[in-house]
Amino acid sequence: MSSPEVVFAGTDGGAVTELAEYEASGGLAALRRAREMTPDEIVAELNASNLRGRGGAFFPTGRKWSFVPKPEQNPRPHYLVVNADESEPGTFKDREIMLRVPFRFLEGCLIAARGIESTHVFIYIRGEYEREYEILVSALEQLRKGKHLGDVTVVVHRGAGAYICGEETALLESLEGERGQPRTKPPFPAIAGLYASPTAVNNVESIATVPPIIEMGGEEYAKLGVEDSTGTRVFSLSGNVASPGNYELPHGFPLKDLIYDVGGGIPDGRTLKAVIPGGSSTPILTAAEAERVTLDFDSLSQAGTAIGSAAVIVIDDRACMVQLGIRVSQFYEHESCGKCTPCRVGTRWLTQILKRIESGAGTHEDLDLLLDVGERINGTCLCPLGDSDAIAVASYVAKFREEFLAHVEEGACPFHGTSSLDGIVAPTDVHEAHVGPAEIPRPLEIVA
């Protein structure tokens, strides 16, 4: 591939975990330049780059920073909070960024802090990332000894296992020592975030892209990728593919090339059945659709899905789509924080209806019931966790309706125990449902 690496530049496939090595290859030059720039100039450079959030929401990073009031408008301390709570199933890119380019990431933190006129940085890293935490702490210590931090304090805060804490307001709650449950918005974090103070919350990859943008200039960065999806992206490729891994490629890269060229194709002589393009929250694509799309915001939106966290999960012809639905739905059921009723109850119902269909006891009505329950989750909660389940499951029903119907008509799973997902195991602590699937209200009863 001739495409330039931006986030992983200078690593030669390895890791740069010693400050001297990082500086020898031009590291910290962007920080020095940024310290000669005004905060407004930094934000302007980000706006010119059109960098959009790499955590999944794709919100323009520069614009997010510009929402943070100036210190003279709001004298409370300003905070930069970095979301390193990577937990979207399929996604493992931020982890590799922290392992391989910890200094670029921390340099980005310092530049971003200057951009929003903050001297307090919190990095919220998921609790399961042990090695990544150690690498960050070591890199931070080297920067401190080298007196590169200036007046900025950086705290690496470890989570304790909760997908919902990747949602920015839940993350802030968790960081304040509360249960990680989303807040109502507005106010948005830029106005009242951590400790009710102006706060920017950014993803690891977004922040790690900041130093190269300052170095090469926003306009130059915007030449990479495609219109509206500028720059490169670290794609996490997993599932039934010969060479899974993280690959930094320009936005607009054809999905089929990622799977067949970069990823080495589908192993074991199997054929492609479906692709989840942006983490388990994004609608599924059929093999035919996957052939046509490119990996950018516009192409995937037009195909009815989303680039999300750029986590591409490849699924071959052995997988039962009802079982896939169960596994995905169990995840959201398990991770629902319980604050909003439609999500807390609806994700459980979706799992139960899917289990009924898988068991062969489902009816034609159950397909509509899945969609109906989903519709009653969508847009009714404080955060999109429940919507993610509803939208994902609805896409499986829509794209693989024949397979769902076959379960109903045969009175059994048409894979008869041969599905690659057969015997899927739910997390240990998923509580048993209090009501059986037969007791889920029918649509009319929900209305009443």
């Binding site: 609790g127 470890r158 960081l175 989840i276 997988a319 896939l324 995840f331 398990h334 195991v425």
Partner: protein, 157 residues
Amino acid sequence: MSSTLYDQIQAVRKAYPQSRSAIIPALRLAQEAHGGWLPEEAFREVADALDVTPAYCLSIASFYDMFHTEPVGRRLVEVCTNVSCALSGAQGVVEAFERELGVHVGDTTEDGGVTLRTVECLGGCGWATVVAVDNRHRLHVRAGDVAGIVKELDEQP
């Protein structure tokens, strides 16, 4: 109460503008001090150190998957069974652990040595199947590797 745990928590809380922010790190320290889980005594200790109530500590601990409010084995084996790992054979890995350890998922071996759990995505989807042994991730684990991992656990109790 162990003064070291109290002192450790005081050191951690200094990093935060508001001390309640230190509750996750404090519970983590308490869990380490209590053999990998959080008995009632641990909540009293954390509550004392952070000026909150034991009930508040429990409400936090019960929210997060990495805190255990029941005893666990000396070693903790957690198998990711989310989509990418499941597509790559995580079920076979779980079954192999059940066979080798002689326990069901969620249970601890009779000698209190090992607890086996299944967990949600550990963020190693491209290196499936991911198995966390005491939070250290083993990558590309196949069912055939499990006997070797269990043997290692026996050798380093």
